[in-house]
């Protein structure tokens, strides 16, 4: 230290204000800086996912649930032509739209086929791509056969070949596991990340997504059958009963998820997500249709209304989870509290 500095400092010691020397080197103590964060900059990065991803989660769930219902009906010997037709074409349309949305969301859409370079069992994104490929193609074959039997392909050799070569029952059963995987793996897709609200709920995310997917699928089928005045009475009765059971299971799983998420579930109730989650997913997507389904006699009008509510609620649920994930990832406090102790999933944890 130079003598001049020493002198300056010793002089300033004589004129201390608030017990400290007045020098420009002395930083102000800022109460905000007492926390453990780096100026509130998020320590992890959120997923870039835009609307295509929650919409895909929604229609993928509808496709999977629809196939589950029609396959179970078929296996129980309940052959309803209208149900089968609605189911086959639903799977076809959802499985045409799903890859479109997913490829649209890629940073380099023209390289989508690189997903098929490799199969990684530990990457839900990889298993999701492959199961989508399988479900889409097998579901497409089933839909082609359906189209042939409906006469949509005309009366030609192709139609006859499709009807003859595609073993419908067997193929339905073979397609089922891929469909179900598409339905529940979307939950694992978001829980296998560093985002606290998603990762915390790893055990219940897949069941919740499948239950919600099935409930939207049943509503979709019931809506289509009611609107087209088709479907046997037995099918509609079974649909109604399944809808009631599934909505209860879904509500239970969402409640359990909220308990499991505990403090990291807060973003779902934040100002920007609460209208969508509480209003859209919980009240109008579960509570209102449940009231309609469980109250009094079943009527066509009530069924249609509850179906529409469940379908909208399912979409709202997926959007609110994705939005909440963004808030959770952007909150340093949430991530640091999650990744500081035993809250985060650990290798030694049991399932």
């Amino acid at each position: 230290m130079s003598d001049a500095t020493r002198q300056d400092l010793s002089q300033s010691n004589g004129h201390v204000g608030n017990g400290r020397p007045e020098t420009s080197h002395h930083p102000e103590t800022d109460a905000k800086r007492e926390d453990k964060h780096y100026y509130g900059i998020p320590p992890i990065k959120h997923a870039h996912w835009t609307w295509q991803i929650p919409v895909y989660f929604w229609i993928g769930g509808i496709g999977a649930g629809t196939h589950l219902f029609s396959t179970v009906a078929q296996l129980l010997g309940h052959e309803d032509a209208a149900l089968k037709r609605a189911s086959r074409y639903t799977v076809l349309v959802t499985m045409i739209l799903s890859p479109i949305f997913l490829i649209w969301d890629l940073g380099r859409p023209e390289r989508f086929y690189n997903m098929m370079r490799i199969l990684k069992l530990r990457s839900p994104m990889s298993t999701q791509s492959w199961s989508l490929l399988m479900f889409g193609n097998l579901g497409g074959l089933l839909a082609a056969r359906q189209a042939a039997s409906d006469g949509l392909l005309g009366r030609n050799v192709l139609s006859r070949l499709l009807l003859k070569l595609i073993p419908e029952r067997l193929l339905s059963v073979l397609t089922l596991p891929f469909g179900l995987f598409v339905g529940f793996n979307t939950g694992n897709l978001i829980s296998a990340t560093s985002v606290p609200i998603w990762a915390r709920n790893w055990a219940l995310m897949a069941p919740t997504f499948l239950a919600s997917g099935l409930s939207t699928a049943l509503s979709w089928l019931s809506l289509v059958l009611h609107l087209t005045h088709s479907g046997e009475a037995k099918t509609l009765r079974a649909l109604h009963r399944a809808e009631k059971a599934t909505i209860v299971i879904e509500a239970g799983l969402i409640a359990a998820s909220l308990v499991r998420m505990s403090r990291w579930g807060k973003p779902l109730f934040s100002k920007s997500v609460a209208p969508l989650f509480v209003g859209g997913a919980l009240l109008s997507g579960i509570a209102a249709p449940a009231a309609l389904l469980f109250s009094g006699k079943e009527t066509r009008g009530k069924s249609i209304l509850s179906s529409l509510l469940v379908l909208a609620g399912g979409l709202a649920f997926r959007f609110s989870l994705i939005k909440a994930g963004r808030i959770s990832a952007d909150d340093p406090e949430a991530y640091f509290s999650f990744a500081s102790g035993e809250s985060a999933p650990q290798p030694e944890d049991k399932v």
Partner: protein
């Protein structure tokens, strides 16, 4: 041989030469002229276009400056008793930390990558093959350190390559080469581990008992990540440097999630079957 970094934050002077060298060598675009107003650090964080980032932790403690104060000693944060009975620590600490991809031993980004674009190269570094990445962005939320982002206009994800191209030619990474205080050290991971332990011991002997190595399987490499090839010598809580204390491997629970999903599928299938019973 596994190579990696050892970043000794105790000798970092915050010159940002590593950031500049990295940008130049890897021809990374600018991130725009931003003024955070938080500190002298205006580049904020690691991203797909910032592979080295020097954090400025301006961390004043509520301590008082009294007596005959030696400013040089003050700046060096000397904790030994000072002549004249001067009390020290008044400035708190102005810490710098050059952050970089941690090159995890079990890398979450690599496990998340559905295209196999993210690999471990011959130097055991985590490397994104830019000709394969299709920009799905799934590695971004998987990274427990917020290292990777998808670069706008390009669409692909990028991060530190540990100067793969320079290593092939037998050169050290650009940031380590540029570092004027040798705060960034590059070499064999095993050698760096010993070096880190020696340096921490040295600091402890000097009285800085708070110094420790971050990036070991116990600290910063926890939860299935099994340690980092980029280690750091830190003097404060990891959170001060925007690092998690106890990160975890997100893919650890994929198997459990699939089992849970399969069980749910069985139950829901049974529920649907029961609904058909009259």
């Amino acid at each position: 041989m596994a190579t990696g970094f050892l970043t000794d934050t105790t000798v970092c002077i915050g010159c940002k030469a590593c950031e500049v060298a990295c940008k130049q060598w890897n021809q990374l675009p600018a991130d725009g002229y931003e003024f955070t107003g938080d500190s002298y650090d205006n580049t904020k964080q690691l991203s797909g276009t910032t592979w080295r980032h020097v954090a400025f932790i301006e961390n004043p403690k509520k301590r008082r400056l009294t007596g005959d104060v030696d400013l040089v000693a003050l700046a060096e944060d000397v904790t030994e008793p000072l002549p004249g009975g001067a009390e020290l620590d008044a400035l708190g600490r102005w810490a710098f930390m050059s952050d970089v991809c941690k090159h995890c031993v079990a890398a979450p980004c690599q496990q998340a990558c559905p295209t196999g674009s993210i690999i471990r190269n011959e130097f055991d570094n985590v490397y994104i093959q830019p000709d394969i990445c299709n920009g799905c962005g799934y590695c971004v939320p998987a990274c427990p350190y917020g290292v990777i982002t998808q670069v706008p206009n390009d669409g692909r994800a990028f991060k530190c390559t540990l100067c793969y191209d320079r290593q092939i030619d037998g050169l050290e990474p650009a940031c380590a080469k540029a570092c004027p205080t040798n705060s960034i050290m590059f070499g064999d991971v095993e050698d760096l581990k010993e070096l880190a332990e020696e340096r921490v011991q040295q600091l402890h002997d000097k009285g800085y008992t708070q110094a420790y190595v971050w990036g070991t399987p116990e600290v910063g490499g926890t939860g299935g990540i099994e340690g980092n090839h980029s280690k750091f010598i830190l003097m404060d809580e990891p959170e001060t440097y925007n690092l998690p204390k106890h990160p975890y491997l997100p893919q650890e629970k994929v198997k459990g999630g699939v089992i849970a999903g399969a069980v749910a599928a069985g139950v829901l299938g049974a529920v649907v079957a029961l609904a058909f019973r009259d």
